[in-house]
Amino acid sequence: MTYAIQAEGLAKRYGETRALDGVDLEVPRGRLLGVLGPNGAGKTTAVRVLATLLRPDGGRARVAGYDVVRQAHQVRSLIGLTGQYAAVDETLTGVENLVMIGRLLDMPRAEARRRAAELLARFDLTDAGGRAAKTYSGGMRRRLDLAASLVGRPQLLFLDEPTTGLDPRSRADLWAVVRGLRDDGVTVLLTTQYLEEADQLADDIVVFDHGKVIASGTSDELKATTGAQVLEVRPLRPSHLDVVASVVGDVLGAAPEVAGGLVSGSVRDPALVPSIVRRLDDLGVVAAELSLRKSSLDEVFLALTGHRAEGTENAGDRPGDGPGSGAGAHDDTRNGTARKKEVAL
């Protein structure tokens, strides 16, 4: 198998903090790897190392066969990078931003213009192409930023939290673009803190926490790793919640979660379910809903890291799904603090 990215034992520290603590990664060519993890898990640091922006303190990495430290220039000519911020020159127009990149990639002027027009059309920015980027909406800037990273037709694309802070529609648009790129055969490394995003887009997922890869596999494989399924019981009468919780806890041997009128616990042995049903029946509790399902990625994440993924505590596991776009705004502030922390380190 040929790999677009191979990393072994990557390490990077900032003072006492180990941003990367021995990361191994292998991404086969043409696959889309989702790097999942909370803020501060080391996702961005890993991307910066692989995109040659940051020198690792230890370990080594090859991108498209070239060493990211010793052959950084070669690596740069094969990759595209879209970072957490829309890195466009706000004073230039959309066209000029893309023409500038094309010229820097040694395209003749006419070709740079043609490529710019092509990308603007692809990203639905043709009409805005003549306007300064500072007049663009957040979603438009992200699209322009992504277009900028595609000018040189990279074999490998790094997308560092490309949808953080975007409204659900812009997010869906961006997902469509990313899928299109993968269909074109581009290898993509996408970091995200949204479980659904990884679930929807990624061929393979690695989970980062505290600078380490703590799990990897396909979405289904990860969901199977906990070895558990989730039992959910919703009593018809909310007053029965306590009874249901104690029965479920008793049979499963661990206190279940109770939220939103629903009792849920993880089940390792499906044979236990009938006994729960029997005991509830004996107690005269009627269940309005009783189901056994595969763990969600969110639960896998909880099982792996001991904490829920960012932004899911309040907003459910669908980003931006909460009331209004409150979840997005919330994430933005959180990123703000995380960024500041990184700078201070």
Binding site: L53, G65, Y66, H73, Q74, A87, T91, L92, V343
Partner: protein, 270 residues
Amino acid sequence: MTAISPAAPGVTVSARPGVAATMRHTATLAWRSLVQIKHNPMELLDLSVQPIMFLLLFTYVFGGAIAGSTGDYLQFSLPGLVAQNMLFASLTTAIGLNTDITKGVFDRLRSLPIARSAPLTGRIVADTLKQAWAFALFLGVGMVLGFRVHTGVFGVLGALALLLAFALAMSWPAVLIGLTAENQEKVQILAFSLIMPITFTSNAFVPTATMPSWLQKWAEINPVSHLADAVRGLLSGGPIASSAIVSLLWAAGLAVVFAPLSIRAFRNRT
């Protein structure tokens, strides 16, 4: 490790950009800093408003009081204003660089297969052209107000060359500030609180004779005094050599001290 994928066929991957490519990248990035003026002529005005305002204020407010006549004062102060403006303008390099870093544009450029130095040199080339524009504007408006060049074309070109040489030396500390400052506001505050006192404690705007003796001593060392004197000599006639040499020595000193610091800060970003 298993087999490593070679680059896709048809893609040429070079080890590093050559001299011609480096110059092309620099030119592209200089173009990038200048082309915005086309859409935003206000920026040219930004570059020009301060020089014109200072010129008018100094001439008509202080002129009579300091030199007895506005015309005489203009002849004396214009070279000083030119020097002050050059120092302020040299910090546009710092502001531009800092903006690129905070907006992520700097990282985007660094992820491209271009000469490492191009993001710096492109900006400096553009800022040098802006410096030349500001000098021409000063001279033009000054002449409308009554300033006279007594030397000739070579004097004017010499003054421009000296100012640009000093501005280039100043771009080293400017790069250091741009790379290390937290944000654009900090750059501006630093610039203002550094350059205002330095230019005002020189002979740029007033003869130093009435200053207290300790301040006079500083004013004699102050690079702005020498620069202003040299520009005076080059535009109005009079001795040039010693003030020009001292100015250039100062410029060299700035470069020697700040170039290594800036380059180290630049590398640390990698």
